[in-house]
């Protein structure tokens, strides 16, 4: 089995550990989704997780902000261990931003209101200040002019960029991306990826579930391949793509790179 310590990465800027998963198991009923996951993510790392559908990669990152509950093992996020304690869950969710496959913008709120909701109600930021912050992030994802529109009036790519801005408004330390581009039309994928690249360059700790291998080569400093609920292989992008170790990884790469 893969060793938890097997991260062959060049050391990151800081030595601080952002996410530490030790021996994590999870079941859906009888189905064993996550099997003995050991993963340590340093602050500032950019990790891309890939693997065939049903391999447990989404479940893995959803465990990090406790949208899913793990049943065995330990998950420590930014020094806080995830248990049933609501205060810990709250503090973790405050520090961790998440971007979903289907954007999950709130359709009854404008773009700006989407962005200020959590700062106002969770962080208790004054409204004016929250709106200023929101506008800077909307500017950063290049859609400040859409602030007063409703999500339904935007294209998929624009919606996903709003979703990213919405997460950033909480000033998170870690960002999770759950297949952020797979619900998008091809011509909109790049605008979202550009934003993500910019984010990576600013030093954000990121865990991305994605099949965008170009993105992985460009920004990731570690690529993780999962199958059947296990981490099969992890390596830096160069090694991972040019010199995959396991047969399953080779098969997977040949499938997605040829299609």
């Amino acid at each position: 089995m893969s060793e938890a310590a097997a991260h062959v990465m060049p050391q990151s800027q800081t030595d601080q550990v952002a996410v530490q998963m030790v021996g994590v198991h999870k079941w859906y009923g009888e189905f064993h989704v996550l099997k003995d996951i050991n993963l340590s993510v340093d602050a500032g790392e950019r990790i891309v997780i890939c693997g065939p559908s049903g391999s447990g990669k989404s479940t893995l990152i959803r465990c990090i902000n406790r949208l899913e509950e793990h049943q065995r093992g330990q998950i420590v996020v930014d020094g806080v261990e995830l248990t049933n304690d609501v205060r810990k869950i709250d503090s973790v969710r405050r520090e961790v931003g998440m971007v979903f496959q289907h954007f999950n913008l709130f359709p009854h709120l404008t773009v700006l209101e989407n962005c200020t909701l959590a700062p106002i109600w969770v962080k208790k930021t004054p409204k004016v200040e929250a709106e200023e912050i929101a506008m800077t992030y909307l500017a950063r994802v290049k859609i400040p002019e859409q602030a007063t529109k409703f999500p339904g009036q935007l294209s998929g790519g624009q919606q996903q960029r709003v979703a990213i801005a919405r997460s950033l408004c909480m000033n998170p330390k870690i960002m999770l991306f759950d297949e952020p581009t797979s619900a998008l039309d091809p011509e909109m994928i790049s605008e979202v990826l550009d934003v993500m690249v910019g984010l990576a360059e600013s030093g954000m700790t990121m865990l991305c579930v994605t099949h965008e291998m170009g993105f992985a080569r460009k920004v990731a400093n570690r690529v993780i391949f999962m199958d059947g609920g296990e981490i099969i292989e992890q390596n830096n992008p160069e090694e991972f793509f040019n010199n995959p170790q396991s047969d399953r990884t080779k098969l997977f790469l040949s499938q997605i790179l040829h299609n």
Binding site: G97, N104, L105, F106, P151
Partner: protein, 371 residues
């Protein structure tokens, strides 16, 4: 009309009117009334039915009706149509019941204020909506003191309430009180906590499983058993409680439908932001769920409003109850049809406008921002 034979160089053909019989009234009638043999038969049948029903009805309803007679006998002497005198003579009673005559301005005032309080709720484009809302919120308190007295106003006991005023009172109270209760029940039914879920389901299914009339019987015959000896609740209050519980169960089912329509992603995104359960529900889920359920909620309200007539069976004097007492007066005996039709018209106007309002809202939802 030589256009048909005329030839045009390619690209120069002018727009021509369609052939006669394909436009105007003739076209409309051909398409909408006589498009097939079956349709022609149906149309003729419809016209015949209208011919059978409408003239005699109009005759009775207005042409041969009497408006200013002093008794039924006088009416029937003068014409063969409806005797509206009974409605006109007893109109005040049908509206106010036995509310003291010199205090009826208080009922009128609360009705006017009700209309004022409703505007910001019904129309989101009302000016100064926020401040206006505050008034809507305190309106129930104002109405309570206006109707029952107190604070220097002469008290009126609820046994004197009656007529249309009672209908509106029960209807509006039921509507206002049942909405929050219904939302709580719906949340309970969707809760992950088994005990809360089971309690909500039992309550909802029990109420929905029995007719309102039996619940009103329970209110009138059994509620006194359930309370400590010596407590006295007046009948109107008991009815108000039962009507509220009854419609809350139906509202809960409507709201549950709305909650089910909200995709899981909305809950997840709200949770991932760190919103607590109540903030998630209040800020993200309920605003959307309630919007979807508005037509259903309005329909429940219409049902509740119509059901207020049942209070006559346990002895409250709503318009139907008053008609019974008017019919007991030997001067107006046998004029039940006139009274019932008058009440029916009143209900039709109020319920029809409510359902129109719900359609207006539905259309607004469809044309508004899509998701």
């Amino acid at each position: 009309m030589t256009d048909a034979t005329q030839t045009h160089a390619p690209g120069t053909h002018p727009d021509l009117p369609p052939p006669l019989g394909n436009r105007g009234a003739i076209k409309w009638m051909r398409e909408n009334l006589f498009s097939s043999p079956t349709n022609t038969v149906l149309t003729l049948l419809g016209i015949y039915l209208i011919y059978l029903a409408i003239p005699p009805f109009l005759d009775w309803f207005i042409l041969n009706a009497v408006f200013d007679a002093g008794s039924r006998a006088e009416c029937w002497e003068r014409a063969s149509g409806a005797c509206w005198s009974v409605v006109i003579v007893r109109f005040d009673q049908l509206v106010y019941g036995f509310y003291p005559v010199e205090l009826r301005w208080r009922v009128d005032l609360s009705a006017v204020l009700l209309a004022v309080a409703l505007v910001p709720i019904l129309f989101d484009k009302a000016p100064y909506r926020r401040g206006w809302f505050v008034f809507s919120l305190i309106y129930p308190v104002i109405a309570f003191f206006l109707l029952w007295g107190g604070l220097g106003l002469e008290p009126v006991e609820s046994a004197k309430f009656g007529g249309i005023m009672l209908t509106v009172l029960i209807g509006v109270t039921g509507i206002v009180a049942s909405l929050p209760l219904g939302i709580v029940l719906a949340l309970g039914r969707r809760s992950e906590l088994l005990v809360l879920k089971v309690i909500s389901i039992c309550f909802i299914e029990f109420i929905r499983g029995v007719p309102l009339i039996t619940l009103l019987f329970v209110a009138s015959t059994l509620l006194n058993y359930f309370l400590p000896p010596g407590t006295y609740f007046d009948l109107l209050l008991r009815v108000l409680i039962m009507v509220t519980l009854f419609s809350a169960a139906y509202i809960a089912e409507v709201v549950r439908g709305g909650l089910q329509a909200i995709p899981r992603g909305q809950f997840e995104a709200a949770m991932a932001m760190g919103l607590s359960y109540w903030k998630m529900m209040g800020l993200v889920v309920l605003p959307q769920a309630l919007k979807i359920s508005i037509p259903g909620i309005v329909n429940t309200f219409i049902g509740l409003y119509k059901d207020t007539t049942l209070v006559v069976i346990i002895g409250l004097l709503d318009p139907l109850g008053l008609s019974q007492s008017i019919l007991a007066d030997s001067k107006w005996q046998g004029l039940s049809t006139e009274l019932y039709i008058f009440i029916a018209i009143f209900f039709f106007i109020s319920c029809f406008s409510m359902s129109r309002y719900s359609i207006y809202l539905e259309n607004k939802l469809h044309t508004g921002h899509k998701r």
